[in-house]
Symmetry: C2
Subunit: 104 residues, 2 copies
DNA sequence: CATCTATTTGGCTAAATGACCAAATAGATG
DNA sequence: CATCTATTTGGTCATTTAGCCAAATAGATG
């Protein structure tokens, strides 16, 4: 595994695309299958324009792809590894231990 | 996989802890083994206080743990699944396709 | 106990991000 | 071709985040 800035930066773009609770909520929902923007707006409960910007960001990071059919644009996960990704995240239980300096 | 806000928020905290190129660089370096703060400062090339704040954030998110030995504090990964996590990230190649609206 | 060293904390400023509204666009439909 | 609908884009404002410096702290060492 390389320790260099350029690679980390590239990876960070992808990770950032999932590092927001609304965006993560979207990604989790899309694990069940594609959804159109208006469905995702209902899910997230924010302004359509806000949701659209989240989707663009995720699309540009490579996390999502989309396709227009009829009046709607359907978004889906671009990669099926999200489950593995989240399994790791869930192992990292938000920290009881070492949360204060007292532990060190 | 649940689609609910509270769980997503918890996960997002962990993901955010890795969603910054300096912090990711730190995590990648720690895959090779523990390091003290001053080594990490050299790695990142930022002010010690800046690095220390990154480390606190990662520690509070549960990503890192630390231990004092002698004069130094050594940080290490709290979870060994980071490789799996990054394998997924690397699958999501920052997006050639669908980067502009033309694709939809 | 005085001092020295590694690290953290507080304060501040600059930059990035997220939210909403209003306006623009693209494509479907009458 | 005029209109309607779903989505995106641009603008603006408020909040959060990241960085540095200076000062505080904790623990090791003389």
């Amino acid at each position: 595994m390389p320790v260099n800035r350029k690679a980390s930066g590239k990876r960070a773009v992808v990770i950032k695309a999932l590092a927001h609770s609304s965006r993560l909520l979207i990604a989790e929902a899309l694990m069940e299958g594609e959804m159109c923007v208006c469905d995702l707006r209902d899910l997230v409960g924010a302004d359509m324009s806000t949701v659209s910007k989240h989707l663009s960001l995720m699309r540009e990071a490579g996390v999502l792809s989309c396709e227009k059919r009829g009046l709607n644009i359907y978004y889906r996960l671009a990669c099926d590894c999200l489950g593995d990704f989240l399994r790791c995240v869930d192992q990292i239980a938000p920290g009881k231990k070492c949360a204060a300096k007292s532990c060190c």
